[in-house]
């Protein structure tokens, strides 16, 4: 009897709100998908159809065979992975420093990092382009990685600093009392506990570089095009290629979700699993 009541509450305070939120979050995705398999005639029909009367997967076929969509996907993946690993490594060092040391200029440096993110990128474009050209890295993935890190690093430093400051200090202290030095304490104690936060921050960095357009259109050419530019190429003066665009969107979204599906397994109980119980 009690069990049934409990599961009723569970439905009320877990399943129902979750479903409502997910409907809001996922409906546009569903609609993107439906649009990608509708023939154009049906898109602009007098009735809105919630499932196409006539489905066509031509757009997907075209994207892979005629437009070689795998290439921008590969480029995006490369840029996003490089940006993520570079940013995470330098940002975790810096944020550890900010959260565990009190040093002269600490606040100033932190504010400097923060201000960096406040300034609109569009104004930096012309000089940045000139810098990339002078470095000889224009139209290579390096140019994108470098420009993305300039705004993902400050952001990640701040995020990780926030997480680190929420972690109880007692963890490292215990380790260091046991004779570990600081790097050892960081690697053995902090890093395992920090993994969920590193994943979350990593996802942020990944998304930012995966979706960025303004820099991407400037610093890439046909060879190094990333997804947002490839997608935007499908919107010309003569209108939107709805089928290709939405199909491109779906193909872009799915691999990232799959990747995150595996990553999120580590997004559990970093603290309880690691330090406290052990």
């Amino acid at each position: 009897m009690k069990g049934r009541k409990n599961s009723f509450y569970r439905v009320l305070n877990l399943h129902i709100p979750l479903i409502i939120l997910l409907i809001f979050l996922l409906f546009p995705f569903y609609w993107t998908f439906v649009t990608s398999i509708k023939p154009e005639r049906e898109l602009y029909g007098s009735v809105v159809t919630y499932w196409p009367r006539q489905t066509t997967f031509k757009a997907y076929k075209d994207l892979f065979f005629d437009y070689n969509f795998l290439k921008p996907m590969g480029n995006s993946l490369l840029v996003a992975l490089l940006t993520t690993s570079l940013t995470l490594s330098v940002a975790s060092l810096a944020s550890y420093s900010f959260s565990r040391f009190r040093f002269r200029g600490r606040r100033a440096f932190m504010i400097l990092f923060l201000t960096n993110n406040m300034f609109p990128t569009v104004l930096l474009l012309i000089p940045l382009y000139a810098i990339m050209r002078n470095l000889g890295i224009l139209y290579t993935p390096t140019a994108l990685v470098l420009s993305y890190t300039t705004f993902t690093i400050p952001f990640s430093v701040w995020l990780l600093n926030g997480y680190l400051s929420d972690l109880p200090l007692s963890l490292e202290e215990a380790a260091m009392v046991d004779g570990a030095n600081r790097p050892q304490a960081f690697i053995r104690i902090i890093l395992p506990v920090l993994i969920p936060c590193l994943i979350a921050t990593g996802v942020y960095i990944f998304m930012t570089s995966w979706n960025e357009y303004t820099f991407a259109v400037m610093f890439t050419n046909e060879e190094s095009r990333t997804i947002p530019v490839a997608l935007k190429n499908l919107i010309g003066q003569l209108g939107v290629q709805w089928d290709l665009l939405t199909a491109g969107g779906i193909i872009t979204i799915i691999p990232v979700c799959v990747m995150f599906f595996f990553a999120q397994r580590r997004l559990v109980e970093g603290l309880t699993a690691g330090a406290v119980k052990g």
Binding site: L14, P17, L21, L25, L26, P28, F29, T35, L43, L86, L93, F101, R102, F103, R106, R107, L114, T115, N116, N117, M118, F119, P120, V122, L123, L124, L128, T149, F155, L159, G162, Y163, D166, L169, R182, P196, C197, A200, T201, V203, Y204, M207, N211, Y213, I227, P228, L231, K232, I235, G248, G249, T252, I253, C257, F261, Q264, L267, L271, T272, V276
Partner: protein
């Protein structure tokens, strides 16, 4: 072990991050500050020259600047506010064990994965006054009896774009707070259970304080990000109709695209200063929390 006498260690650790950032943006940013004091309109390169604070004075007299600024305030307030509330709810829900949790977690990231280009177009398509699905649903539910051209009306366009940015930002808070929740020691909840605390009390007395710094940092970063975000509005409405959805960052973007870089830089610097002002209370709290 927060020691003051760590010598060069802290500097060494922040050096790589600082180097990468400064090497790339230092000169362009300095350049932008200088441009704000010049008549710097690339359409008229022969007129480029220092004009003191003229750009700033012109900005102060620009009624579009003030209306855009006001809209930025609402944009951030409602945008970030609802993102935070819904995102926190989602994080708490996704932190509870249930079947299919992994799937729910990964699909709830979708709005964030969607490229900005597509977000703008898809929402435009959903809101469409002739073929839009939102109108169709509202009509079928008999909530309205005639399609509403959401994005074509001065009165509905801004709420419409705000809903889109809320949609886009929920996964950010959900993920960040979900990660933070993993660091909350389980025994705190066990202790509270013994004391007979209810769910709400546990949330206020344990969850929120344990996530304090994370909450501060994520909202602060999100405020900055949302205040500066251009692509959702730009792809949906371009700031129109009749400037009714133009935030300050969109105005800056439009002016920069028109290559009036001096004017645009002056507005950017004002926006940066305003954001710093917003950040001060946050920073105070943060520094106090961390340095205690």
């Amino acid at each position: 072990m927060r020691n003051k006498k760590a010598g060069f260690w802290p500097y060494l650790l922040i050096m790589p991050a600082l180097l990468v950032v400064m090497a790339v943006v230092f000169i362009p940013a300095l350049n932008a500050v200088l441009m704000s004091f010049q008549s710097y309109d690339l359409r008229r390169p022969s007129e480029i020259g220092f004009i003191g604070a003229d750009n700033y004075i012109k900005v102060m007299r620009d009624s579009l600047f003030w209306s855009s600024l006001w809209r930025t305030l609402l944009w951030v307030l409602f945008g970030v506010g609802f993102q935070f509330v819904f995102g926190f709810c989602l994080a708490l829900l996704l932190n509870r064990p249930f079947r299919g949790r992994g799937l729910a977690r990964s699909v709830s990231l979708i709005p964030w994965v969607t490229p900005g280009v597509l977000i703008g177009l898809m929402w435009r398509w959903i809101y469409d006054g002739s073929y839009g699905v939102l109108n169709d649903i509202l009509l079928k539910l008999n909530l309205i009896d005639e399609s509403i051209p959401f994005l074509a009306r001065v009165s509905t366009v801004f709420p419409a774009v705000v809903v889109t940015i809320i949609w886009q930002g929920i996964p950010f808070f959900a993920l960040m707070l979900l990660a933070g929740l993993q660091g909350v020691p389980g025994e705190l909840y066990e202790a509270a259970d013994i004391d007979g605390a209810n769910v709400f009390q546990k949330f206020i007395q344990i969850t929120v304080p344990s996530l304090q710094n994370t909450i501060y940092v994520t909202t602060l970063l999100r405020i900055i990000w949302v205040a500066n975000s251009v692509d959702v509005i730009f792809n949906m409405t371009g700031g129109g109709p009749a400037y009714a959805s133009q935030t300050l960052s969109v105005y800056i973007f439009n002016k920069a695209n028109a290559l009036n870089l001096g004017y645009s830089s002056a507005m950017s610097i004002i926006l940066t200063i305003l954001l710093l002002l917003v950040a001060i209370p946050y920073l105070k709290n943060l520094f106090r929390n961390q340095e205690n």
